[in-house]
């Protein structure tokens, strides 16, 4: 039996991991909650009262702004891939490493084999149309051995292709297809890159920010019915 990421083993406190509750958990029936944020402890003080919410008020304490991350993991990756590792940050206690899109496959392989990130939890993209390289492709990795998460991110321009990681994690197959389907990002070396959620004959990629169903509709009406759409 493989025993992985069990909460019983104290995970190491490297940055880039989820918050671990304090040691008192499960010790007694008294409910003590970890209080990582001030907000919550204040809420506890106002225990008896119903929540009082001021309209428009911002949270008392904003989460820390993304800070630079520089730990052993990033160091090792930098040593090995040099410039391909661009910028490592930590946002809301989660490690994000920005990498060079062209070398993602090798980096992924290293993450899987040497850094023990066995599982590709998720693969997705974000569209920033105003940016020069408009897409963020995001690989969410998880290490069962270390109970740790890592997010790889690469900037990709429209029309640029990204190496597929299906040879590293077979599970990347469908997410990459979905990414291709909804963003139009081409993954080089994918065994079967087709649309997955939308029909084959669909036009456009809906999750792009400039995708406009209304505009498409108007165009379709003009083309096929020969009239101006009333919408």
């Amino acid at each position: 039996m493989v025993k992985r990421g069990n909460g019983e083993e104290p995970p190491d406190k490297r940055p880039g991991e989820e918050i671990e509750p304090d040691a008192s958990r499960g010790a007694s029936n008294v409910l003590k909650f970890p209080t990582p944020h001030k907000v919550e402890s204040e809420a506890a003080v106002e225990a008896a009262k119903p929540a009082r919410r001021v309209p428009g008020s911002a949270p008392r304490e904003a989460p820390p702004a993304p800070a630079l991350l520089d730990n052993e993991l990033v160091q090792r990756l930098r040593d090995r891939f040099g410039d391909a590792i661009r910028e490592a940050t930590i946002d809301r206690k989660q490690a994000i490493v920005q990498v060079d899109a062209g070398r993602v496959r090798e980096i992924a392989l290293a993450c899987r084999d040497d850094e023990k990130f066995e599982m590709l939890v998720d693969l997705t993209a974000v569209d920033w149309p105003k940016r020069e390289r408009r897409f963020d492709v995001v690989w969410n990795l998880y290490s069962m051995t270390k109970n740790e998460r890592l997010r790889l991110k690469a900037h990709v321009a429209q029309g640029e292709s990204v190496p597929s990681v299906t040879s590293v994690w077979v599970g990347a197959n469908w997410p990459e297809r979905e990414c291709f389907d909804l963003f139009g990002i081409v993954f080089e070396g994918h065994p079967d890159l087709r649309r997955i959620l939308l029909p084959e004959e669909w036009h456009g990629h809906p999750l792009r920010k400039d995708y406009d169903i209304l505009k498409q509709d108007t165009e379709w009406v003009r083309e096929n019915l020969g009239i101006e759409s009333g919408q």
Binding site: F33, A43, K49, V54, E118, L120, T166, S167, P175, H190
Partner: protein, 384 residues
């Protein structure tokens, strides 16, 4: 459109070659309207007699563009939409989303809210597993368990209804805590349900666990090894049945799970029978969690002070919970406005379904439905 056809055959689902058929081979389209593809899954099977030579899952028939909708709603407005993804486990979906946004805001729900959330989420896990049990048994030809399972699920839905007025798409939680206080007899209802439920699980097990036909139909069927499961991103009971002891409730506790004693059921063979046993054992554990939690719900506020208009500072967050079907993750990117810039849902069924191709290799048509049932997919979540 069809750019990037590389070398074929990385082991996961790729399109079936329908042009070259061997002797006695036929192509069978199961679904999207088929009694046991659980909604609108379409499975294309290449059969040699009754044996599966190749398979391909074709999904997307229930695609509603939930992720796109999110970009046009404010954070609280989007919350009801997540209920419609895994519609048999709406509470879990809501829990994941609310916690993800809370993390993005840097807020946290008060203790009372977290305990109530835990109770409801565990009840939802039981309800989801019950629905799975019933339909899975029905697929294998056992007509009776589904009605027993529905009977107990009804009790859970009644508790939901009493709590928030809805049974299926509950929208039970709000970002920052809870909208509603628990109703007067909430503790009693939950407790009574949990106390009766132990014996009810025994009933299901009497019908199935040691039944020769059931064992014959499920043992050694749809085997998924631990390494394959991890490589495919499979999570939840399917992963645990393959011998990987990994549960987000233990590994990275959220809500109030770190307060309660429970075990993570694990089996080693990774076949359909083990997935069945794992889920049955999980129902028992969920029941124990509910019993512990309902004994001692802390007093206090149910809502954190987060303000009415939610404007998370720019940045991004990934938060995941152990849904009934596996790791249910939300990756939310904020640009500092009231609307999320991007919401990505990591649906467990989507990744688990990917493993179908591997499990179905060499199976028979009858095994195909057993395997689909044992993965426990909800197409609303796969297609979003």
């Amino acid at each position: 459109m069809n750019a990037g056809h590389g070398a074929a055959g990385f082991g996961t689902a790729h399109g079936i070659d329908t042009t070259v058929l061997g002797e006695n081979e036929i192509i069978l389209n199961m679904g999207p309207q088929h009694p046991s593809t659980h909604g609108v899954l379409r499975v294309k099977l290449r059969l040699d007699g009754e044996r599966v030579v190749d398979s391909e899952c074709i999904i997307g028939y229930l695609h509603r563009g939930v992720e796109k909708i999110a970009e046009h709603r404010s954070y609280p407005q989007f919350a009801p939409y997540v209920d419609r993804m895994d519609y048999v486990a709406a509470v879990s979906n809501g829990l994941g989303y609310c916690e993800a946004v809370e993390k993005l805001l840097g807020a946290e729900a008060p203790p009372r809210a977290r305990v109530v959330r835990t109770i409801l989420a565990e009840l939802q896990r039981i309800a989801s597993h019950l629905l799975w049990l019933g339909t899975h048994a029905l697929d294998i030809g056992a007509l009776t368990p589904i009605f027993y399972a529905m009977r107990e699920r009804e009790e859970i839905l009644k508790i939901f209804e009493k709590y928030c007025g809805a049974r299926l798409t509950t929208h039970a939680f709000r970002i920052g805590g809870l909208q509603y206080e628990t109703y007067d007899t909430f503790e009693r209802d939950v407790k009574r349900f949990c106390e009766d439920f132990a014996q009810k699980i025994d009933q299901y097990e009497t019908l199935l666990t040691e039944n020769r036909i059931w064992i014959g139909r499920t043992k050694g069927v749809g085997v998924l090894s631990a390494d394959d499961a991890i490589a495919l991103g499979v999570t939840g009971p399917v992963l645990r049945a393959s011998g990987v002891e990994w549960d987000l409730r233990k590994a990275q506790p959220y809500a109030a799970y770190d307060r309660y004693q429970f075990e993570v059921p694990v089996r080693e063979n990774g076949d359909t029978y083990d997935r069945y046993l794992v889920r049955i054992a999980e129902m028992r554990q969920s029941r124990l969690i509910c019993l512990q939690a309902v004994e001692d719900i802390p007093e206090g506020a149910i809502m954190a002070r987060i303000g009415k208009v939610l404007k998370p500072p720019p940045g991004e967050v990934y938060h995941s919970i152990e849904g009934p079907k596996g790791e249910l993750g939300y990756y939310i990117v904020s640009d500092g406005t009231i609307q999320p810039y991007r919401v990505r849902v990591r649906p467990p069924s989507f990744f688990n379904l990917q493993a179908f191709h591997r499990m179905a290799r060499g199976a028979m048509v009858a095994d195909v439905v057993a395997i689909i049932g044992s993965i426990d997919i909800v197409l609303g979540e796969v297609d979003r």
